[in-house]
Symmetry: C2
Subunit: 311 residues, 2 copies
């Protein structure tokens, strides 16, 4: 079961964090963009080339200390099909360096359509007998508003190809409560109800460390809910956005972990990608080393709250 | 406001339907696939070439009688970045034939990430001063689980570029009720609450025919809820999936319309795309004409329930 591989990586590196790869052009040093525009012009193809080059540098600098990357699909789609090609190449490159890849696509649909998304991002597409992996990520984020019909097709692909998913439960944004915090007629919140569904769906793909292949997205900006859900959902692994730029700190994310230091992986995107802009005196050429320094700082800060991570 | 253009097309053609373009390889006649494989091999590129060729034939056969197409992003992503390229070319071709294009992507995220999705699918991307349209659809389906933070960025792009969105309210699948039918503490259902949010969000982009640029997805398989929501959400235009293959008939979708025959557009995907397989004696080469016959049958069946459509 896929999150076993993620957990193995976390324990080996003693680092429960994931680097978000959301490469806006603003975050990319000029020398990378200039090289890309020289070859491809100021086009979507040129932008996509710059994205991939930037990501490669980050992956090279992080792959021995950070177990996973999380490319955000929106920032690739923004550059059209060329951008989506850069997403595919980024996933391939990160996997070649041993990293666990979570595509943050928040995909959702039903039946054969959801099956198509699952095959696209986690599985294999059959072109009249030829089996081809379109994107090949290890896990995908999923929006569960459509219920079981939208999750079962992903579950099937996860079982077949040893992959996992993270379902949106309590998101990190200020307005997440408009629906997610509402109370249902059994006095549970919507987010808790979604969390309970994750536990239920996950029971079909339980891993050897007690966590299933159906994880949950729970924001660092809601530490109380993180703690509540950690207790209520003992088999559900958490992907925690909102650390750093969105305001969550290490103390806020500590409740996401179990007593072994397992149960969650904390994402930082801008904090790592833009570290070179925040450090004083760092040259653009050193962007990847700046990212590495920030990743180490983040790791050490979080581990200081949870201690040694054991399986 | 974008749905005004859609409404103009519906009234002009007296046809409140949209053709879903979900081109699975199984739906495509062999001669198209063989030509594509001859040129590109049995690869994702070959599959994508077949998809686009199939779609072109459908668009040519439908563009003077059906006002809109709805490509489902999953069936393009399934063929990797090549498939996504076919999506872009399909959108471009349908627009060149005067059709209104709804990308069914059910995208959702927050803040700058949702802005990236909105720019990708509906707006313009800025590559260091060069303004480029990555996909250029007229409307996008959106999942509202994250609340206002996930909708505002799309609203802004819709205002700027005269586009629209459809938010999932009550989906057509059997398990949609697991969350959407649950009762909240104010005794309203989750789907009704989401519908009320659509009315609220839409008030910022009201069109000249009384419908806003924030529509709702409501399934044909739930006619009672369709009628309830039509009354409750007088400014929200409905995109109605579930007609045909999923079991909804013309009588089921009739409650989606207002007294002028406006307020909804009914989708058929497999019914139209696979008409050539269902008709007896139709040659694969006539797939597009079979699609046209089915589109006319569907139009006439629905219009027989709602009468002449007026603005």
């Amino acid at each position: 079961m896929s999150f076993d591989r993620l957990i193995d990586g976390i324990v080996k590196m003693q680092n429960p964090t994931v680097a978000g790869l959301d490469p806006k052009l603003d975050f990319i040093p000029d020398y990378i963009k200039e090289n890309a525009y020289m070859e491809h012009g100021k086009t979507l193809e040129g932008a996509a080339a710059a994205l991939f080059e930037f990501n490669k540098g980050l992956i090279d600098a992080l792959c021995d200390i950070v177990p996973a990357v999380k490319p955000q699909a929106a920032y690739y789609e923004m550059y059209g099909w060329n951008g989506v090609h850069a997403l595919q190449k980024t996933i391939e490159y990160a996997k070649s360096k041993g990293m666990f890849v979570i595509t943050d696509g928040k995909r959702n649909d039903i039946g054969t359509t959801m099956e198509a998304y699952a095959k696209a991002h986690l599985g294999i597409t059959d072109v009249d007998g030829e089996k081809i992996e379109p994107f090949g990520a290890d896990a995908l984020t999923v929006n569960g508003y459509l219920g079981t019909d939208g999750v079962k097709p992903v579950l099937n692909v996860c079982k077949e190809f040893d992959k996992g998913m993270f379902i949106l439960v309590k998101t990190s944004n200020p307005s997440s409560g408009e629906l997610q915090d509402r109370i249902l007629d059994d006095e549970k919140t919507v987010y808790r109800t979604m969390g309970d569904m994750c536990e239920n769906w996950g029971s079909e793909i339980m891993g050897q460390y007690g966590y299933s292949g159906v994880g949950a997205v729970v924001g660092a900006t809601y530490p109380q809910q993180l703690g509540e859900l950690r207790k209520a959902l003992p088999h559900t692994f958490f992907l925690v956005p909102g650390y750093g730029a969105q305001g969550g700190g290490a103390a806020d994310v500590a409740p996401a972990f179990d007593e072994k230091g397992l149960g969650a992986i904390i994402n930082s995107s801008r904090g790592i990608m833009c570290a070179w802009k925040k450090e004083s005196g760092t040259a653009p050429k050193d962007y990847a080393q700046a990212a590495r320094r920030e990743a180490i700082r983040m790791r050490d800060e979080i581990v200081s709250y949870i201690g040694t991570i054991t399986k």
